[in-house]
Symmetry: C2
Subunit: 306 residues, 2 copies
């Protein structure tokens, strides 16, 4: 069985044709602006067509297609909105199905971080109880409890980036709130902490490099961000009692540097019986959301979708 995967990011789109066990036969990557969502999906379908041609099949011969999107979705067909992509509400299948030439019931979509969690479940034996957290420009999250993705009443569960972690000196967050984890520990926040620490225009990646070279100010910045992450994970763990936390996104590369302060604050905040949690980088790597799209497709075809 061959399937199609579309990882629709905020600035780039990855597509692949894969086997049912996650082996990639062909892939494409291209920068596509999100502003015009019709053009965005049309180009995604075109890229997937190129992958199919390279793999020696027609698009319509794929068993199905999954798409992971930088948006809230209903886990079926409807995008509910995306502040980062500038999207309102729309349905995805009418935009993809004609270009793909396959039955509408074989096309599936999901929020990108939820998709990563589904990939962790399917391809990386992630366990039955875990939190998936992506730390990048923003912070997103997904929850798997007792082997199932938790979607919530309005399909918006997993927003660990907006758990409040600072009340004394809270920073304004893009969500309209104050003191959110995202406002204090995302890649963007790390860049801001770096400026405040006299590190100039260093972004999160540069802060990581400086810390690896022994720069004490850079190390302090990462420790600060790590404490906030540990605080949010402790709160989440007391409520969900997971066994693992998987961290993805660009800032995950610095996890070894963040981990001492994450763990210190985590141990302080988590109940003794909820403290036995492994916090590690996802093994899905850079293409987590691409495997996510594949997992969404395979779950959908198996009737395990929402």
């Amino acid at each position: 069985m061959l399937i199609g995967a579309i990882d629709g990011g905020g600035t780039k789109v990855l597509t692949a044709v894969m086997t049912g066990s996650g082996e990639v036969l062909a892939r494409r990557q291209r920068s596509i602006p999100t502003a015009d969502h019709r053009a965005y999906f049309a180009q995604g379908a075109e890229m997937l067509g190129e992958c199919a041609a390279e793999a020696g099949v027609r698009l319509a011969e794929l068993a199905g297609v999954g798409a992971s999107l930088p948006a809230m979705t209903d886990g079926r067909d409807r995008v509910l909105g995306s502040p980062s992509a500038g999207w309102g509400e729309f349905t995805v299948r009418p935009l993809l199905v004609p270009a793909l030439g396959m039955g509408t019931e074989r096309v599936f979509i999901e929020n990108d971080v939820n998709a990563c969690a589904l990939a962790e479940l399917r391809f990386a034996h992630g366990g039955d109880n875990f939190i998936w957290m992506t730390v990048s420009t923003g912070i997103g999250g997904a929850v798997v409890a007792d082997g199932r993705l938790v979607r919530g009443a309005g399909f918006c569960a997993g927003e660990i980036g907006h758990v409040k972690v600072e009340f004394a000196t809270p920073r304004a967050c893009g969500c309209g709130g104050c003191g959110c984890l995202e406002a204090h520990a995302s890649g963007t926040a790390i860049g801001r902490l770096a400026r405040a620490a006299g590190l100039g225009d260093a972004d999160a990646k540069r802060v990581e490099q400086l810390a690896r070279k022994g720069d004490p100010a850079a190390a302090t910045v990462l420790a600060q961000a790590g404490r906030y992450i540990g605080r949010a994970l402790a709160m989440t763990s007391n409520v969900l009692n997971p066994e693992r936390v998987y961290i993805g996104g660009g800032v995950a590369h610095a996890l070894d540097l963040l981990l001492p302060s994450i763990r210190e604050e985590f141990e302080r905040g988590a109940l003794p019986q909820c403290r036995n949690v492994v916090i590690e980088q996802t093994r899905l790597g850079y293409e987590a959301a691409l495997f996510g799209a594949a997992a969404v497709c395979l779950d959908g075809l198996a009737g395990k979708g929402c």
Copy 2:
């Protein structure tokens, strides 16, 4: 079908023989100290025997028995510990089965707050996504996501009472941590706030009475506790996106007085898309955990147990 329910509290035990739809045919209530857990369960079984006699059946004729306990459990047969009851680890069936004279596979146990959540699901049409929170001497919680009780990797999910809500002036909590919701908004905490506010030895119930009579200091104490509850519920809602929060326990009687400050802080902390949550008193009333024990039994008999 008749079943037996044992609500094992920290100071009192309630038992009942019920129909499968939750109609109570006979009930008993007695104060039983928890210290000797063998005697505790033996007396519980004896009380249930009296209920059965009153209902005109023998214990062995009951389809099954469920027990809700003030303890962490594995949702099957094992108590994992209870600081409040002074219990370590032990298995429950050997203590109950001989006295009940029924097959071991027909006896089921569960943590009391989890049991309340299961009762809300079964008997009160509680919806598929909710938080159940008991505010009493301490604060306990349970999570239902997509129609299922979330137990967590170590069976300790739902500990919303130990979410950290105060970092500037955190109070020590019984769990060993600081700044937990339980330390700032439980019945015990309300009593302490009352003393600090010059209300003498008023307990939570007295604070409620004073607030209802227009005492401004009592109203301030409740508003303070309410804000902490709202803060913890906002964090939990961002992660789980529930549609409802059910409040039980003695302090739930004051929910109308607490609600304005709960909602104010909740709206401040919850994401717009996670804010559409009804916060209300459980409709299960004083006997929530007794119905919980019945739900545990019925779920267990239906093979829906852990």
